[in-house]
C-alpha cells in the first residue's frame, strides 16, 4: 500500500521521518480517511450541483418547449390570417362576378330599351304617316265636297232643265206627253241625286268629325309617346351611369386583392421567420436534450464513483 511504499522509501528521504509516519498503522489511516471523506463530500456536492444544473436545464427545456408551443400557436394564427386574406381576395373576386352580372343584366335592359325606343320610333313614324293620310283624307273630303256641290248644282240645273222640258212638253200637248214623262223622270232623278248627295255630305261630315277626333287622339298619343321616350332616354342614361358605377367595383376589387396579396406576402415572410425560429428552437432543443442526456449519463458515473469510494474505508479498516 502507498503508506508502506512511503515507509520503504524512507531511505532516500534526507530529513527525519515526519511524526505521522512513526504512528501506528491505525493512526496512519486518519489522513486517508480524511481524504476519502473529503472526496465523498465533494462528490456529494458535485451531485447536488448536478441536480441544480439538471433542474435548471429542465427549466430551460420547459421554457423552450413553451417557446416552441407559442411559436406553433403563432404560426397557426398567422396561417389563419393568411386564410382570411385569401378569403378576402376571393370575396373581392366575387364582387367582380356580381358586378359583371349586374352589368350584363343592365346591358340586357339597355338593349331591351333600345329596341323599345326603336319600336316607339316605328310607332311615331306610323303616327306621322297617319297624320299625312289624315291630311290627304281631309283634302280628298274637300274635293269630294266640292264635287258634291257641283253635282248638286248640276242636279239643280238638270231639275230646271227637266222643269222647262215639262213646260215645253205640256205646250206640245199630246205629242209632248211622252217627253213630259221623261222630263219628270229626269227631274225626279235630279232630286234623287240631290238627296243622295245630301246624305253623302252628312256621312262625310261624320267622317270628318271622327277623323278630327282620331287626329286629336293621335296627337295626344304622340305627346304621351314623346314623354315616354324621354323617360326611356333618361332610364337609358341611368343604366349607363349604373354600368359606369359598377365598373368602379373593379378598382375596389383590385385594391382589395392587391392589399390582400401584399398582406399575404408579409404573412409569408412572418411565417418563414417563424419557421426559422422553430428550426432554431428545434436545434437548440436537440442540444439541450443532448446536454440533458449527457447529464443523465453523469448519474451513472456518480454512482460508480460512489460505489467505489464507499468501499475504501471498509477495506482500509
Amino acid at each position: 500500500m502507498f503508506w508502506d511504499r512511503k515507509r520503504s522509501s524512507g531511505e532516500i528521504v534526507q530529513n527525519p521521518a515526519p511524526a505521522v509516519l512513526m504512528q501506528t498503522p491505525q493512526q496512519d489511516l486518519h489522513p486517508v480517511e480524511y481524504i476519502v471523506k473529503s472526496i465523498d463530500s465533494y462528490q456529494k456536492q458535485l451531485a447536488e450541483n448536478e441536480v441544480d444544473s439538471l433542474m435548471e436545464l429542465k427549466k430551460v427545456q420547459d421554457s423552450f418547449e413553451d417557446v416552441i408551443r407559442n411559436n406553433e400557436d403563432l404560426k397557426a394564427q398567422v396561417g389563419n390570417f393568411n386564410d382570411v386574406f385569401v378569403n378576402v381576395g376571393r370575396s373581392a373576386d366575387e364582387f367582380v362576378s356580381v358586378k359583371n352580372e349586374i352589368v350584363e343584366k343592365v346591358e340586357g335592359a339597355k338593349e331591351k330599351m333600345q329596341s323599345m325606343r326603336s319600336s316607339a320610333e316605328g310607332v311615331q313614324d306610323h303616327f306621322n304617316d297617319m297624320e299625312e293620310i289624315f291630311a290627304e283624307f281631309k283634302v280628298s273630303v274637300g274635293k269630294i265636297e266640292r264635287s258634291m256641290k257641283q253635282i248638286v248644282g248640276i242636279a239643280n240645273q238638270t231639275n230646271i232643265l227637266a222643269l222647262n222640258a215639262s213646260i215645253e212638253a205640256a205646250r206640245a200637248g199630246d205629242q209632248g206627253k211622252g217627253f213630259a214623262v221623261v222630263a219628270e223622270e229626269v227631274r225626279n232623278l235630279a232630286e234623287e241625286i240631290k238627296k243622295l248627295v245630301g246624305e253623302v255630305g252628312v256621312y262625310l261630315q261624320d267622317a270628318e268629325k271622327e277623323s278630327d277626333r282620331l287626329s286629336t287622339s293621335m296627337q295626344e298619343s304622340q305627346k304621351a309617346m314623346k314623354l315616354s321616350n324621354a323617360e326611356v332616354d333618361s332610364a337609358y342614361d341611368s343604366f349607363g351611369e349604373i354600368i359606369e358605377t359598377a365598373q368602379g367595383v373593379d378598382q375596389v376589387q383590385q385594391s382589395i386583392a392587391r392589399a390582400a396579396t401584399e398582406a399575404g406576402g408579409e404573412l409569408k415572410i412572418i411565417e418563414r421567420s417563424l419557421e426559422l425560429v422553430e428550426r432554431d428552437c428545434g436545434t437548440l432543443m436537440e442540444h439541450i436534450s443532448k446536454a440533458s442526456d449527457l447529464g443523465t449519463s453523469k448519474g451513472v458515473v456518480f454512482e460508480n464513483i460512489d460505489n467505489m469510494l464507499s468501499q475504501i474505508m471498509p477495506i482500509l479498516k
Binding site: D293, G299, D306, S310, P314, I315
Partner: protein, 352 residues
C-alpha cells in the same frame, strides 16, 4: 458446447440431474428450505465440478416454483467459478478472485460470459467488476437471488456474489436485455434528490416529494403505488439507454425501490407494451445474431413473472422463448446486464 437443463418440482436433486454427464460447470437453482442440502448433495454428486447456486424459481418451458433445477454446460466449455464476499461493504477486496477466474478461462473475442448471483448491493458489485470484465472482453448476465444466500463450489455464502466465467470454445456468446416498457408519451424527466442509496430510497423528484409526484402524474392513490409499478415502473435514463427501477413501497413522503437511485439521477415513468410482441422482437434479434444456438440462460424478474402469471401468459411466454433452442433460467429479484443492474427485465446469455 451443450446446455443441459433438468428440474424436479418436488425438490429431488437426483431427479433434476438425471442424464447429466461430465458437466464442466453447474448452475443450481434451489428453494429456500433445501438450498444448503442441495448444495451439499450437488457437490457429492459432481465433486470438483465448478458450480454456483442461487435460491429462486427456475424454468424451461414451465416454471418450477418450489423444487430444484439444474443448468449445466458440457463439452467445448472452459469454466471457472468463485465468489466475491462482503458485497454489502467491500466487493473490491475480492477483485483478485475475479481476475484469477478470468485468467483461468483465458477469454477470446466474444466467447466468454460471467454469470453471477448476488445477494444484494448489486449495483456496487457490478461497478466494481465491470471495468475488469470490459477490459477482458467478458460479457455479464446474472441476477439477485432470494434468501440472502448463494453458493459456490459446494459452499453456501451470505452477503456474497457467486460467479462463473464460462468460455464457449466452439463459438460466440452474447448477452441481451429485454425491456417490455417504454417511456410514457408525456416523456417525464424527473431529477432525483434527497436519495439514500443504502435504502434504495428516493426523497424528491424535481424538488417535490417523490410519492406525490408519482401519484399525481399517474392519478392514483397511495395504496395503489406498490402494484402500479407492474404497469408503470421508473426508467433511469443513462444517455440513450434506460434501466428499469421497480418501486417497492412508500416510505414517508418518498419511495423505496428495488434498485439504487442516486442524487442527480434522471428518471422517467414507463408504461407497459405488448410483451408478447417484445418477445418476438427479442427472438428476432437473437436469430439475426446466431445461426445456431446451443443454449440460452436467462433471468426473468419476479415482477414480470407475477405480471405474466396474472395475465395467464407465463406459459405462453416461455413456450415462445423456447422456440429458441434450450431456453432456461431463473426468476430473480433484480437483473444484471453487463455493467447495469436493472429491474423488471429479462436478461440472457446466448451460446452459439
Amino acid at each position: 458446447m451443450k446446455q443441459f437443463y433438468g428440474a424436479s418440482n418436488t425438490g429431488v436433486l437426483s431427479e433434476a440431474v438425471k442424464g447429466l454427464q461430465a458437466p464442466k460447470v453447474i448452475i443450481l437453482m434451489s428453494n429456500p428450505k433445501q438450498f444448503e442440502q442441495h448444495v451439499a448433495e450437488l457437490e457429492r454428486l459432481f465433486p470438483g465440478v465448478p458450480s454456483i447456486g442461487v435460491v429462486d424459481m427456475c424454468y424451461d418451458r414451465r416454471v418450477t416454483e418450489e423444487g430444484v433445477g439444474v443448468t449445466a454446460y458440457t463439452e467445448g466449455v472452459e469454466a471457472s467459478t468463485d465468489v466475491i464476499e462482503k458485497v454489502s461493504v467491500m466487493p473490491a477486496k475480492y477483485i483478485g478472485r475475479v481476475e484469477k477466474a478470468i485468467e483461468k478461462v483465458n477469454p477470446g473475442r466474444n466467447d466468454t460470459v460471467c454469470i453471477d448471483f448476488c445477494t444484494g448491493n448489486d449495483a456496487c458489485v457490478l461497478t466494481t467488476i465491470s471495468g475488469l470484465l470490459t477490459q477482458k472482453r467478458v460479457k455479464l448476465m446474472g441476477g439477485t437471488g432470494d434468501a440472502g444466500k448463494v453458493s459456490c463450489n459446494g459452499k453456501v455464502y451470505q452477503d456474497a456474489c457467486a460467479f462463473a466465467m464460462i468460455r464457449n470454445m466452439n463459438g460466440k456468446v452474447e448477452v441481451y436485455k429485454e425491456n417490455i416498457y417504454r417511456p410514457m408519451e408525456a416523456n417525464y424527466r424527473l431529477v432525483a434528490s434527497k436519495t439514500d442509496r443504502s435504502k434504495y430510497y428516493i426523497g424528491e423528484l424535481n424538488g417535490r416529494p417523490a410519492r406525490d409526484v408519482y401519484m399525481n402524474l399517474l392519478h392514483i392513490k397511495e395504496e395503489d403505488i406498490a402494484t402500479q409499478t407492474f404497469r408503470n415502473p421508473f426508467g433511469k435514463i443513462n444517455g440513450t439507454d434506460m434501466c428499469i427501477v421497480s418501486i417497492k413501497e412508500v416510505v414517508g413522503n418518498g419511495l423505496a425501490c428495488f434498485r439504487q437511485v442516486n442524487d442527480s439521477d434522471v428518471l422517467t415513468i414507463l408504461e407497459i407494451r405488448d410483451f408478447m410482441q417484445i418477445a418476438d422482437e427479442t427472438i428476432a434479434n437473437i436469430r439475426r445474431d446466431f445461426n445456431k444456438i446451443s443454449g440460452v440462460f436467462a433471468v426473468n424478474c419476479l415482477f414480470r413473472y407475477l405480471y405474466f402469471s396474472q395475465n395467464h401468459a407465463m406459459d405462453d411466454y416461455l413456450k415462445k422463448m423456447n422456440t429458441l433452442d434450450n431456453y432456461c433460467g431463473f426468476v430473480g429479484y433484480g437483473e444484471h446486464y453487463n455493467s447495469q443492474f436493472v429491474n423488471q427485465s429479462m436478461t440472457c446469455v446466448v451460446f452459439e
